[in-house]
Amino acid sequence: MKRMGQRAFAYIIALAFLLIAILLGISIGTVSVPIGNIVQIIGAEIFRFISIDHIDPMQTNIVLSIRLPRVILAGLVGAALAIAGAAFQGLLRNPLADPYTLGVSSGASVGAVLTLFFQFSLPFVGAFTLPLLSILFAFLTIFVVLGFARKIDRAMKVETIILTGIIFSSFLGAFISLLIALTGDELRQIIGWLLGSVSMRGWSYIQIILPFFILGTIILIANSKELNAMSFGEERAQHLGVNVQRRKMVILIAGSILTGAAVAVSGTIGFVGLVIPHLTRMLWGPDHTHLLPLSILTGSSFLILADLVSRTIISPIELPIGVITALIGAPAFGIILMKRRSGERSGSDA
């Protein structure tokens, strides 16, 4: 069947794109590592019997301790933001929704900044204090935003939700600025974290995000059909047999987990959750059973490449990765908005 072939093709393209992004991400830098060497080094790491004695130990060190964790972290953050964005867009029936525009990212930032500001650590969770607080604040934010939007407009029009999200983003941003103003020594730490980066995080950050990423992703993918149904409106979904109240809650929680975890390890990186799902949907269709996995693949490739650009474009100076994604994402956002407006106008009489 034609459509089946198209689907397989989509996955092959997305996987190939990811593989290329990973290899480029590891290979390019102040010290160039040939792709053949990368394959051997990683192969040797996995299958211990492969000998890599002929490769410079410094290259091995760069690949395994610096570039590979960086690429994997960028990939995980990109994937988490993209799938969370795809889920928020489906749930809110709005191609303009994403963790950033909804204020979730800012909420997660507040959680993280508070942790850094007060330098506290929760009992039993230790190093997981920051991601946990990020997730908690992300979650609180989405609920406050949606509750506020519902108060203004019972129909919860998309525009209302987005405006509410932007209001909360600004408010939370101001709150973060306040904390920064009150900060003495931790200033550098907070600013550095806020600008968003996946550099010099090492394997420990991957350990922080990975469990949350796996958990959130499994929950969202398990709710693909429900997301499809809810794309047609909550009432329609309920008529189709979806337990809307419960599913909505579960999806919001999973989205917040993913956003919170991503923000916790890399700071606020905007537009990935907006542009990637939209692009994926345009290319391969809106069916969430495929949109979510394809968004993961495309999102991680995109952020790996964005990170590559951020550290090579004016090397040796390293730009914050959020700058790159915003430079690409903001115009894309504008184009989407314009297309949507003109689409609404021409489609209104249909």
Binding site: R93, N228, A229, G233, E235, V242, G285, P286, A350
Partner: protein
Amino acid sequence: MDQMLKVEQLSGGYARELIVKNVSFQVGEGELFGVLGPNGSGKTTLLKMISGILPFRQGRITIKGQSIKSYTMKELAKMIAVLSQHSSQAFSYTVKETVSLGRYAHQDGWFRSWSVEDERIVQEAMGQTGIASFQHKSIQDLSGGERQRVFLAQALVQEPEILLLDEPTNHLDLSYQKELLDLLKKWTGEKGLTVVSIFHDLNLASLYCDRLLLLENGGVHSNDIPNEVVKVEKIKEVYHTDVEKHPHPSIPVPQMVLLPKYGANEANVVIEPSYMQINKEYISLQSPIPLRTMSSGVVGSGLGWQHTFVNRHVDKSYDCSDHRQEMRQFLRERGFEPSETIGMMTAVHVEDVAYKLLKADGFSVLVIVTAGVGNAVDASKSVEHSFELIPGTINTWIFINGKLTEEAFIQSVMTATEAKVKAMENLKVVDIVTGTIATGTSTDSILIAATQTGKELEFAGTITPLGKLISQGVFQCTTEAIENSRKRKQQL
């Protein structure tokens, strides 16, 4: 008939407001049940409670003998499907993807794959709703009517036993409205599908529903067969508007028509001889307002509303295979609009017309007759005549400045005919075939036209005030017209 859906003393609404109040009704399997009521009467709220979207405060909703609350969402979705007025589609799903979503409730487990059975059901539903040909198209590229059919197909693949519809024909043009309702009616009969549908259009509801529920202010006003619910008094009471009830012209269901305000305060027109125009070729009368007419003739006959009336002289040798078409052509050439005109023909010279305006208390009647008795026939012996269509020789026009009932129209025809027969008898007009006194000619035409303003005239029997004027006018004019025509013959 098994009770599919039972609603008992149901009350509920939103936040503080009680919208549906103490509503009870039952719907049997295979019934097409219509819900009517003005805006804000609680139709949609009621439907939302039945579909499980909106919790209710009091009462019970039972489906197949079990309370609706005992079913899970999925179980409910396997029994009830809903087609609502508005459906949002933020993303460009294809038609097939959209329809396939209807199988959600039937797919248990997280990773249950699409079965052959699912595919068959989806294809079947797309076939039935006529959307299979564009199943790979995006729903955002469809017209409102096509999209509505996609969502109908989605509801169908749920394989429901009850289909709830909220104004299903909204957004649909005339032919799709009919198509959709025909389809639903067929399924109720063939598959035993139970349909509960909100209607805005009383006439559509009367045409298709087995029973109707009329809501008023959230309560049940009536619940009965269409003929009992769609009654002038009830509709006036609930909708607070002027309506009239008429039987459907071809099937035995009631139909309501609105009475617009502008019709009532039309200037009080009185049809008088001054509106007439007589020349060699034709007599015409052009009314400033359309008149309610009942007539026989060449064009515009039957029941209707007409502006213009033309009685045309044609030669005795007039012979045209399609005289209707020729008459229309004639009218058009003379500047008359055929669709608003009643046209008659006569071989009589129309200048020999006789007319008279008769007045009574509060109304008046204008009678106009052209007559020739060349084809005089005794109706009691008409079997002896061969059938031949010859241009009519006694054409009687009766214009009534008053408001007539349908019954009065019919009685007017009777009264006029009786007066005509008497005039023929008085003048001893003989049927040349049988040699007896004739009762008319073989092709007489009649027109009763009323302004429908002014005095209400319920009857037109011979001794009613209207009947008296008609019989007097027709008798006198027919006599005079026949005499005029005889004089002309003698002069020749």
